[in-house]
Structures are given as structure tokens and as C-alpha cells.
């Protein structure tokens, strides 16, 4: 007879406890004398017992206050033979018998595990990310400086961003100290610096994408900015909440806060946006010329595009229809 595992499942299928069935009988019920104590008000103090006998396991029903089902079938016997895969339902509880060889999924890695493994290196890594952020900020500013570089201003710009990141991390560390007695300052700092780094790099990259693929630069950069900022805000908030609080669903909280914040921002932006612009909107995307080699058009084909541009301009009738539809 191979060993069996008794799995106690609460409602909604969440497993709460596993118990290996050995050579001794296993009592199950609310009473404290049981080997498996189940806090289910609809179970008896001694609800049932699983007894190994004659190379088999037997279910002995000790309490009849509530009916018992085995594999969905109501059973009234005192003693029933059990096998791997059987499902016992009584009260609000569900018990399943599993073969000891039933495979279990591989261990899931905690998001913070890599960070925890860094041990004493964590402050150094946080500071490295912060310095990297400062260096990237300063470098990008320097690349856009066409006058004589004002080094103090470049340094100030870089340090200002780092100061903001530090303030963010300190605020969440204080919250963590209050709520979990664990500040996790270095983790908060590393998270904020990493998110800021990704945001900075991605925003720079989006300009190159718009340039290289000749997309509507203004729209693309604005849309990319919104989407990227929302995603990174969510990740940052999720991480910060996970580290600083004991919320059961920090991801849901972060998602709700992000959607609410960006929804309000979007509505505010739409309500204040002027649909009519008296001047052409700035075309501001021009980048170092490695992307332009992707395309190169002669005038005839470009002229066809210009003709399409004129032909596609909304007429007065279109405008009136638009107004009427509003």
C-alpha cells in the first residue's frame, strides 16, 4: 500500500493543509483531540477518521449531523474504502486524497529573492543604480547641449532627479517602518532608481523610433509617454506597496491607483485640450542620422503623399457633420 496525502481545501479550491496518511489512524474534526483540526462550524467535534488496515485506507464516519458525500455521492455507511483521487465533502470542507507521487509544480521565485540574495551588497547596488541614473541624466543633457557646457547646471540637473528618487524611497521606507517595522530603504531606492532609468531610456528611445519609422512624431511620443509612464507607475507603486505594506493584493491596489490617477489625468487633459490650433503643431523629432537609412523617397512618390494630404483635409461639409454628430 502506497502512502496517501489528505488535502484539506477551503472554499474556492484553495488548499490550506496537507497531511500524510501513515500507519496510524487520522482523526478529523473540530475537536482538539484530532490529528487534523478543522475550524469548520459545520463539522462534528470528531467528524471522521481514516484508518489504515489490510493494505488499504478506510473512512469511518463518526458524526451524522451533516451529510457526507464521497465523489459527489451521498454515503450513509459507517465504513467506506478509500483510494487515491477520492473527494470527501462534509460541512463546508472538502478533503481530497492524493497519491504521494502526484507531481507538484516547481517552486516560484519571489520577486524580491534576487534582491535578498545580494545581502550586504544591497546598499552598494542601490547607490550604483542611483549614480547610473545621475550619469544618464547628465549625459543626455550634455548630448543636447549645443552651447558651452555649464557643468554646474548639468550636475544640478542630474542631482535634482536623484534627490527626487531619494525622497520617494525615504517616504516609502518611513511608511514601511510604520506598517511593517521594516523600512527596506535600499530596496525602495533601488526600485525607484531602476524605474527612473527605464523611463529615461525609453523616452529617449521613443524619439528615435518615431524618427526611424516616420510615424506621426507628436502623437507617437505623446502616446508612448502616457503608456510607458502608466506601466512604470504601476510597477513602481506595486513594488513600493509590496515592500512597505502587508496588503494582500498590492498589485490590485497599485493597478487601481494607477488607473484612477491616469484616468483623471487623461480626462483633465482632454477637457483642457484645444481641438483647434491656429498654427501647425511643432515637428520636433530629428535625430542623429543612423535611422534615416531605412527609407529614402524620391520627389514623385512624396508628391503623391502631399496630394493625398490635401485631398484628405476635411471639407466644410465634414466639419458640419462632425458638429451635428456631437
Amino acid at each position: 500500500m502506497g502512502a496517501l496525502i489528505l488535502r484539506l481545501s477551503a472554499r474556492h479550491g484553495r488548499a490550506t493543509e496537507y497531511r500524510r496518511l501513515g500507519g496510524e489512524p487520522l482523526g478529523v474534526g473540530r475537536g482538539f483531540g484530532n490529528a487534523l483540526i478543522v475550524p469548520d462550524a459545520y463539522l462534528g467535534a470528531e467528524q471522521f477518521r481514516i484508518v489504515p488496515e489490510d493494505d488499504a485506507f478506510w473512512l469511518e464516519v463518526l458524526d451524522r449531523t451533516n451529510p457526507l458525500r464521497l465523489n459527489g455521492v451521498l454515503r450513509s455507511e459507517y465504513r467506506i474504502a478509500l483510494a487515491a483521487g477520492d473527494r470527501i465533502e462534509v460541512g463546508h470542507s472538502v478533503f481530497t486524497l492524493l497519491d504521494e507521487n502526484t507531481p507538484v509544480p516547481a517552486a516560484r521565485s519571489l520577486a524580491a529573492s534576487p534582491w535578498e540574495r545580494l545581502g550586504d551588497w544591497r546598499p552598494a547596488v542601490s547607490m550604483f543604480l542611483l549614480l547610473l541614473l545621475a550619469a544618464l541624466t547628465g549625459w543626455l543633457d550634455f548630448l543636447k547641449t549645443v552651447e558651452e557646457p555649464q557643468w554646474d547646471q548639468l550636475l544640478f540637473g542630474a542631482l535634482s532627479l536623484c534627490g527626487s528618487v531619494m525622497t520617494w524611497a525615504m517616504t516609502w521606507a518611513a511608511l514601511g517602518h510604520l506598517m511593517r517595522h521594516q523600512a527596506e530603504f535600499w530596496a525602495q531606492l533601488a526600485l525607484a532608481a531602476a524605474v527612473a532609468l527605464v523611463w529615461l531610456a525609453a523616452m529617449e528611445l521613443s524619439g528615435y523610433i518615431a524618427y526611424a519609422f516616420v510615424v506621426d512624431a507628436g502623437f507617437f511620443i505623446e502616446a508612448a509617454s502616457w503608456v510607458l509612464s502608466a506601466v512604470l507607475s504601476y510597477l513602481l507603486l506595486h513594488g513600493a506597496l509590496s515592500l512597505a505594506t502587508q496588503l494582500r493584493h498590492p498589485g490590485l491596489a497599485a493597478l487601481s491607483a494607477t488607473l484612477a490617477a491616469y484616468g483623471l489625468l487623461g480626462l483633465s487633459d482632454l477637457s483642457t485640450r484645444d481641438d483647434f490650433a491656429a498654427q501647425p503643431q511643432p515637428a520636433t523629432v530629428l535625430r542623429a542620422p543612423f535611422a534615416k537609412r531605412l527609407v529614402g523617397r524620391d520627389y514623385a512618390s512624396f508628391d503623391a503623399d502631399v496630394a493625398a494630404l490635401f485631398a484628405g483635409l476635411p471639407s466644410e461639409d465634414d466639419d458640419q457633420e462632425s458638429v451635428e454628430s456631437k
Binding site: 549645443v146 516616420v214 524620391d298 483635409l313
Partner: protein, 418 residues
């Protein structure tokens, strides 16, 4: 009755010819009855929305003023009505007969004619000759001012007389007269201290002749305005496209310079020592515009070239510099959503003459002027590390075919010439 009026007009008009030459007082006395304040009345409030001056050119009540004086009534006849204020303070209704939007003239018909007619001069003026202008400045009183005729404005797209006198708001549409009290021009604009402009009288004659056409009289005023603007731009840009364009060097590029006498060019450069690059710029444009209505003037052509060169900036920095300049210029006058649509743009890479471009072309449609558009272009050279050119082009009020022809010519006239 019309015959009597005509005879009376001829008699009264002839009276001006008998004024003593060169005396403002005599001219004023003889023509006071031929000049009146023209008022645009807001029908809802019954108050004046705009004022100008006008004068009678035929005894049957044909009155002339500037189009810009009566433009509101031309565009929104249901909202405004026209009247003139006689010397006795009586308001007399006016009817809009025809307009020459390009030269800023309007013909009106008075329900009750004025008591005199301004005679038309037959002899051309000589440079430096004294001329007089009548009108009602700032709604103060009918006045006459004296100045000097200084020929025609040079390099103007629209022919205008240069009058060294002080026109003021409210005098628009009034007559400009020679020493014999004969009409030589129509007050239209002020350019500065003692610098004013007059519409030559021959445009008035042309407008009067056109107004006699019954088919034209039956057409909508708005359609006539649109047709006139369309024909004007077609003639102007058609002529520009026919002539060779002057080419000149700018940095290591060749660009079109002053492509027509109607275009004025200005240059500039930065040498402050703080920049790590050299900048030379040129901006050209026609100084004239056509008034269509409040917040809508059209007819301007402008273009600009700015070259940048640097030995100190690296490639990324140099393109950051060009990126800062790669923007459309705010050269467009129409700012009312009711008049024009939004700009829509196309952006692309384009092969030019010996150089490649990043180019953005934007256009918008005039809502009430069928067939007319505004076009804005910005283009930046790519591919030359350390040498760059940013070109801008802006045209107010152009047809699609002319816009495309002009853009092609513009792009093809720029070349890399190290």
C-alpha cells in the same frame, strides 16, 4: 428722375473742378457733400460695429469704400447692415453691390444719393505732387489732410500708392484727390508716421466695369471673393513658377534668394562666442496680405533658411541643435476655427539635390473660400555631420496645384554645394 439726378451729379461733380487749385479748404468745401462716413451696423444692438469713409462716384448713389470697412456685412449680411451718415447726420441705407477683395475696394448703392460726386482724374500724378485725402478719422469729424504723392510702393505684390500723409482709422475708403479735387486714389492703410497707402483709382474703374456684368451681379458675394482670391494666387504663383529663381550660397548650400521683386529678404547671423556652432540665416517674404475678414488675412508668401555649422559638436549634439530648429513657423494669420480647418501634416524622408531631407508638410483648408489652403513646410538636411540646413516655407491662401508645384520647385532649388 434718374436723368435729373445724373445731371445734378454732373453739375455738382463739375463744381469740384472749379475749386481753386491746391487749396485744401476749397477742395473740402466743394467735395464735402460727396464724402460721408460709412457705418456697419450690428442689427441686434442697432449700434455701429465698424466705421470708415466713402465717397460717391456717380450721381445715382454709387458709393465707394474699402472692402475691409464693410467686410463684416459682406460675410454676414444677416447680422449687419450698412448705412452712410450724411452731413446733416441722417443715416441712409446702403446696399453692397460688388467688391474687389484683392485691392480692398467695395461698391455700394445708396438709397438716397449724396449731393455731390467726386470726379475721376484723367491725368497721372507726378512724383512729389501734393495730394489731399478726405475722411472721418476716429469718428471725430469729416477732415481733409494734405500730403505728397511718392509714386508706387516698390516690391509690392499689390500695387499701392505711397502717400506721405497721416491717414488714421476711420479714413479708410475716403478719396485721395489731386490739386484739382479729382480722385487719384482711395485711402486704404497707414504704414507709419506720415506713411500711408492709397489704392490706385484705376482699380475702381475696373471694379465698376465688372459690376455691370449681370451674371456677376447675380452671383453670391462670398463666391466672388473666393474666385478673386483663387484667380489672384493662381496668377501670382503661376508667374513665380515661370521665371528663373535667383540662387545664392548660404554656408555650404545653395538656396533660392529673392525670387521676385515682390519678395523682400533679410539676413542675420550669430557670433556671440558662447555657441559652439555658427549660424547664418535668411528670411524672405512678401510684405502684402489681402484682408478677407477680421482675423483672416491671406496672400502672404514667406520662406526662411538657417544654416548651422560646427567643428566642436559631436554628431548627436549637432542633430540636437537641428532638432531645436526643426519646427513649423507661426506664419499663419487665420486664427478662427470658423474660417479654417486644422492643420494636418505628413512627415517623411526625401531625396533632394545632393542632400537628403527630413520634411514635414502641413496644410489646412479655408472653410468659406473654396479651393484655397494654407501650407507650411519645414525641412532639415540630414547626413552631413557638422553642416545642416533648416528651411521653412509658409504660404497663406494657395490652391492645391500651385502649392504642390511651388513646393517641388522650392525643394529642387536647394542643393548641397560644398
Amino acid at each position: 428722375m434718374p436723368l435729373l439726378l445724373l445731371l445734378a451729379g454732373l453739375f455738382l461733380g463739375a463744381g469740384a473742378a472749379h475749386a481753386e487749385p491746391g487749396r485744401a479748404g476749397d477742395i473740402f468745401a466743394s467735395l464735402r457733400a460727396a464724402v460721408a462716413q460709412v457705418r456697419v451696423i450690428d442689427t441686434a444692438s442697432g449700434d455701429k460695429a465698424a466705421i470708415g469713409s466713402g465717397f460717391q462716384v456717380a450721381a445715382d448713389g454709387l458709393i465707394v469704400t474699402n472692402f475691409h470697412v464693410v467686410s463684416e456685412a459682406a460675410h454676414e449680411p444677416g447680422r449687419y447692415r450698412l448705412e452712410y451718415l450724411s452731413g446733416t447726420g441722417t443715416a441712409v441705407p446702403l446696399q453692397l453691390i460688388d467688391v474687389d477683395v484683392v485691392h480692398d475696394l467695395a461698391l455700394l448703392r445708396a438709397a438716397t444719393p449724396l449731393a455731390a460726386v467726386v470726379p475721376i482724374a484723367q491725368e497721372p500724378l507726378s512724383h512729389g505732387e501734393r495730394i489731399f485725402s478726405m475722411g472721418n478719422p476716429l469718428d471725430l469729424a469729416m477732415t481733409i489732410i494734405e500730403g505728397t504723392y511718392n509714386g508706387f510702393v516698390e516690391g509690392a505684390r499689390y500695387r499701392k500708392m505711397l502717400f506721405s500723409g497721416s491717414l488714421n482709422p476711420g479714413m479708410s475708403g475716403g478719396p485721395a484727390l489731386n490739386e484739382q479735387g479729382e480722385l487719384v486714389g482711395i485711402n486704404v492703410a497707414r504704414g507709419g508716421e506720415q506713411i500711408s497707402f492709397l489704392v490706385p483709382g484705376n482699380y475702381l474703374e475696373a471694379l465698376r466695369a465688372r459690376a455691370l456684368d449681370p451674371a456677376r451681379a447675380a452671383s453670391d458675394i462670398g463666391d466672388r471673393i473666393a474666385a478673386a482670391l483663387l484667380a489672384d494666387q493662381d496668377a501670382y504663383f503661376g508667374a513665380l513658377l515661370q521665371i528663373p529663381w535667383a540662387s545664392q550660397p548660404l554656408g555650404k548650400f545653395r538656396i533660392p534668394g529673392r525670387i521676385s521683386p515682390t519678395v523682400q529678404c533679410w539676413g542675420g547671423s550669430d557670433e556671440t562666442g558662447e555657441e559652439r556652432y555658427r549660424h547664418v540665416g535668411q528670411e524672405c517674404g512678401s510684405e502684402d496680405t489681402v484682408f478677407v475678414q477680421e482675423s483672416l488675412e491671406t496672400g502672404s508668401l514667406r520662406y526662411a533658411f538657417n544654416t548651422y555649422a560646427s567643428d566642436e559638436l559631436n554628431t548627436v549634439q549637432f542633430y540636437a541643435l537641428l532638432d531645436g530648429q526643426y519646427a513649423h513657423n507661426p506664419w499663419f494669420s487665420a486664427s478662427d476655427e470658423a474660417q479654417v480647418g486644422n492643420f494636418e501634416c505628413r512627415e517623411d524622408f526625401l531625396k533632394g539635390k545632393g542632400l537628403d531631407w527630413r520634411i514635414s508638410v502641413c496644410a489646412r483648408r479655408y472653410k468659406d473660400l473654396e479651393g484655397l489652403f494654407d501650407m507650411s513646410v519645414v525641412m532639415a538636411s540630414t547626413g552631413f555631420a557638422g553642416e545642416g540646413l533648416v528651411a521653412n516655407l509658409g504660404i497663406n491662401g494657395i490652391s492645391e496645384p500651385r502649392a504642390r508645384e511651388f513646393l517641388r520647385r522650392f525643394v529642387e532649388s536647394i542643393s548641397w554645394a560644398p
